[in-house]
C-alpha cells in the first residue's frame, strides 16, 4: 500500500519559495493546487532544507519560519536547524 506524507501551505508569496525548494529537493513530490492552498505529497518522505530555501530567498532563513504558512502535515516530523523532514517508517 502507498504511504504518502503531505504538507499544505497557504497559497501566498512565502509558499512560492517553499514549493520551489521542495520541488528541487524532492523531484518525485506531487504538487496540488487547491483554492487558497498548495498541497504537496510524496511517497514516504519529504524534506525541506534550510540551505535550498536560503538560496531561493537570497537571505538567511530559519526553519521555524515555515510555521507561519503551513496549514497541515501528515507524517512523523523531524526538525532541526538545517531541515524539516516528514516521514513514515
Amino acid at each position: 500500500m502507498s504511504q504518502l506524507v503531505f504538507i499544505a501551505f497557504q497559497d501566498n508569496d512565502n509558499a512560492r519559495y517553499l514549493v520551489e525548494a521542495i520541488q528541487e529537493d524532492n523531484p518525485e513530490a506531487e504538487v496540488q493546487h487547491q483554492p487558497a492552498m498548495i498541497r504537496i505529497q510524496a511517497e514516504k518522505r519529504l524534506v525541506i532544507n534550510r540551505e535550498t530555501m536560503e538560496e531561493k530567498l537570497g537571505r538567511e532563513w530559519d526553519v521555524q519560519e515555515m510555521l507561519v504558512d503551513v496549514i497541515s502535515i501528515g507524517g512523523n516530523v523531524d526538525e532541526d536547524d538545517d531541515h524539516f523532514i516528514l516521514q513514515w517508517n
Binding site: 500500500m1 502507498s2 504511504q3 504518502l4 506524507v5 503531505f6 499544505a8 497557504q10 487547491q34 483554492p35 487558497a36 492552498m37 526553519v63 521555524q64 519560519e65 510555521l67 507561519v68 504558512d69 503551513v70 496549514i71 497541515s72 502535515i73 501528515g74 507524517g75 512523523n76 516530523v77 523531524d78 526538525e79 532541526d80 536547524d81 513514515w88 517508517n89
Partner: protein
C-alpha cells in the same frame, strides 16, 4: 558571523528552556502534586523520552504567533472596511458560518480549558509546556473566530448568541457533548481523544477542504482565520502523534487501553463530522471537493498511512472504520435531510439544492445520490413550490452517546435505519450504531447522565412545552428571522437587495463574484 555562533541550536535551546526549567519536588510527594496521572492505568516509566519535534520554546512561540496575529487582523480590518460580506458567492453560504460559530468556536474554547487543565496534571515538563502552548492556541482560535464572524453578525441573522446557544440548542449538544466527554475523562484519554484522534486524524477534514471552500466562495475573513488556526494545528497534530508514540513506547500494558480510546474517539469524531460533511456538500454554493472525496484523501489515504506506521506498536486501525468508509457516500445527504426538516428549530436556514447543485451531487455520488436521495429532495422542492414547505413536527429520537438523531443507515443497506438498544439497570437506552453502543457499554455510568435535548424538552426543563416557546425563550432563536427556509427569509431579501443595488452600477466587483 560571530553572533551566529553564539546562538544555541534548536535542540539545546529546547532543552534549556523547557526541561531544565523544571525541578524535582523535595518536600511534597509527587503523587500528591499530580494525583490524576495514574488512575487510567497508563504506565509512564520515563518522562524524559517525551519528544516535541518542533522544539518550540516560549520565545519563538510568541514571535511566530504575534506575526500570525498581525497578518490575520490586517485582513479582518480590510474585509470589514471593504464590506467583504458583499463579495461572497451567495448568502446561503453564511449559514455555514452560523453553524461554525455556534458549533465549532465554543469547542475551541473547550479545548483551551481542556489543555489548561491537563497541562497541570502531567509530571513531565515537556508535556506541560506543550499543553500550555496548545491551551493558548485554542484560546486564540476561539477569539479570532468570533472576531472574524462579528462582521457577518452586523449584516445577517442567527449569529447573535452563539455561546448561549451552544449550551442549549438540540443539535449543538452533538459537538458540546463530544468535548464534555473528552474533558471529563482522564488526562491521557483527553490527549488521545483530542490531540490524536481529533487533531491528527480528523480536523484536516474541517479546516483544510472546508476552508479552501470558504476561499472559493469569496470569504476572505474565514479562510484566513481557518488557515491561521490550522497553522497551529500542524503543531498540534505533530504533538498528537508524538503523544501516542510516547504512551505506547512507555509500557506494553498501555497498548490495549490506547487502542480502545482510539476506537472510541475515532467513532465519536466521525459522527461529529457528519455536520462538516453537510457543510461541504450543501452549504458551499461554489463547490471545491465533495465530502466523499475529502474523506478519501484525508481519512482513507492519510489515515491509512498513519495506522500503517502505528502497526509496529501493535495498534490496528479503528474498529468500525469499514462502517465509516461506507458512510462517506451517505452521511452528508442524511444530515442535510434532517436539518431541512427541522429548520424551525435551528439558528440557520436550510434549502433544497438548485438543479445544478443536484446534478453536481449526482455526479459526485453516482452510486447513492440519485438512487436514495434525489427523488426525496425533488419531492420536497415541489411541495415547497406549491406552498407546502415541509417541516417535521415530531421530535427525533437521539442516540444516547453521540446525541445525533438516529438518522443513519446500516452499512451496505442504505434503506435500513441503524438502531441499537439495550437495557441497563432496568432502563432502556437507544443508539445510532454499534460504535456508539460499544462506547456506552464500556462506561454506562458516564453516559446514563447524558443531557439529551429532546428528553429535556419533554421533561419540561427548557422553559416551555411546545417547540416555538423552547426555540424562542430557551434557545434565543428569533423566530421568523434566524430559522425556517432560506428562500424568502430576511437574509435572502437582504442579499437580493445587496445584489440589486450593485448590479445597477457598472464594473462593480461584486458582479463578477455573483456570475
Amino acid at each position: 558571523m560571530a553572533t551566529k555562533n553564539k546562538k544555541l541550536n534548536l535542540k539545546d535551546r529546547y532543552q534549556y528552556l523547557t526541561r531544565d526549567m523544571a525541578w524535582e519536588p523535595t518536600y511534597q510527594d509527587k503523587k500528591d502534586i499530580f494525583p490524576d496521572e495514574d488512575f487510567e492505568g497508563i504506565k509512564i516509566t520515563d518522562w524524559s523520552q517525551w519528544e516535541d519535534p518542533f522544539r518550540l520554546t516560549m520565545d519563538a512561540y510568541w514571535k511566530y504567533q504575534a506575526e500570525k496575529e498581525k497578518k490575520l487582523y490586517a485582513i479582518f480590518d480590510a474585509f470589514a472596511q471593504n464590506n467583504g460580506h458583499q463579495n461572497i458567492s451567495d448568502a446561503r453560504y453564511v449559514n455555514a458560518l452560523k453553524l461554525f460559530l455556534s458549533g465549532v468556536s465554543p469547542l475551541e474554547h473547550a479545548a483551551f480549558q481542556g489543555y489548561a487543565k491537563v497541562g497541570r496534571q502531567f509530571s513531565g515538563a515537556g508535556a506541560r509546556v506543550a499543553c500550555q502552548m496548545q491551551a493558548i492556541d485554542e484560546l486564540r482560535h476561539s477569539q479570532t473566530q468570533q472576531h472574524a464572524m462579528s462582521h457577518y453578525n452586523k449584516h445577517f441573522n442567527g449569529l447573535h448568541d452563539a455561546p448561549y446557544m451552544h449550551d442549549r440548542v438540540w443539535f449543538l449538544s452533538v459537538p458540546k457533548s463530544f468535548f464534555d466527554d473528552a474533558r471529563s475523562a482522564g488526562p491521557f484519554e483527553f490527549l488521545t481523544a483530542i490531540s490524536f484522534s481529533f487533531e491528527y486524524v480528523l480536523t484536516n477534514l474541517l479546516f483544510v477542504p472546508f476552508m479552501s471552500g470558504a476561499a472559493y466562495n469569496g470569504d476572505m475573513a474565514t479562510v484566513t482565520f481557518g488557515f491561521s488556526a490550522q497553522s497551529d494545528e500542524a503543531r498540534h497534530m505533530t504533538l498528537g502523534l508524538e503523544v501516542i508514540k510516547f504512551i505506547l513506547e512507555q509500557h506494553e500494558d498501555n497498548v490495549p487501553i490506547v487502542q480502545r480510546w482510539i476506537d472510541k474517539w475515532f467513532w465519536r469524531g466521525f459522527r461529529l463530522l457528519s455536520l462538516v460533511g453537510m457543510m461541504m456538500d450543501y452549504m458551499l454554493p461554489k463547490k471545491v471537493m465533495s465530502w466523499s472525496e475529502a474523506w478519501e484523501m484525508y481519512y482513507e489515504q492519510n489515515g491509512g498511512a498513519l495506522f500503517k506506521d502505528l502497526e509496529r506498536y501493535g495498534i490496528r486501525p479503528p474498529k468500525y472504520q469499514d462502517v465509516a468508509n461506507d458512510a462517506k457516500n451517505h452521511v452528508s445527504h442524511q444530515a442535510w435531510s434532517t436539518f431541512y426538516q427541522y429548520s424551525q428549530a435551528t439558528n440557520f436556514h436550510t434549502w433544497m439544492p438548485e438543479k445544478e447543485e443536484m446534478d453536481w451531487l449526482s455526479q459526485k455520488y453516482p452510486d447513492t445520490f440519485d438512487k436514495y436521495y434525489r427523488q426525496r429532495f425533488e419531492h420536497w422542492d415541489k411541495e415547497h413550490a406549491e406552498g407546502r414547505r415541509f417541516y417535521n413536527n415530531t421530535l427525533p429520537q437521539l442516540c444516547q452517546v453521540c446525541q445525533i438523531p438516529t438518522i443513519f443507515t446500516e452499512k451496505d443497506d442504505p434503506t435500513m435505519l441503524s438502531h441499537r438498544q439495550l437495557v441497563h439497570e432496568g432502563e432502556r437506552f437507544h443508539f445510532c450504531s454499534d460504535g456508539c453502543c460499544d462506547i456506552f457499554k464500556h462506561e454506562p455510568e458516564k453516559y446514563v447522565q447524558a443531557w439529551l435535548p429532546v428528553h429535556q424538552i419533554y421533561q419540561g426543563n427548557c422553559e416551555g412545552e411546545d417547540v416555538e416557546t423552547v426555540v424562542s425563550k430557551y434557545y434565543h432563536i428569533n423566530i421568523g428571522e434566524d430559522n425556517f427556509e432560506y428562500i424568502g427569509s430576511p437574509d435572502h431579501k437582504r442579499w437580493l437587495a445587496i445584489k440589486g443595488e450593485s448590479t445597477g452600477k457598472k464594473a462593480d466587483s461584486t458582479d463578477q463574484n455573483a456570475a
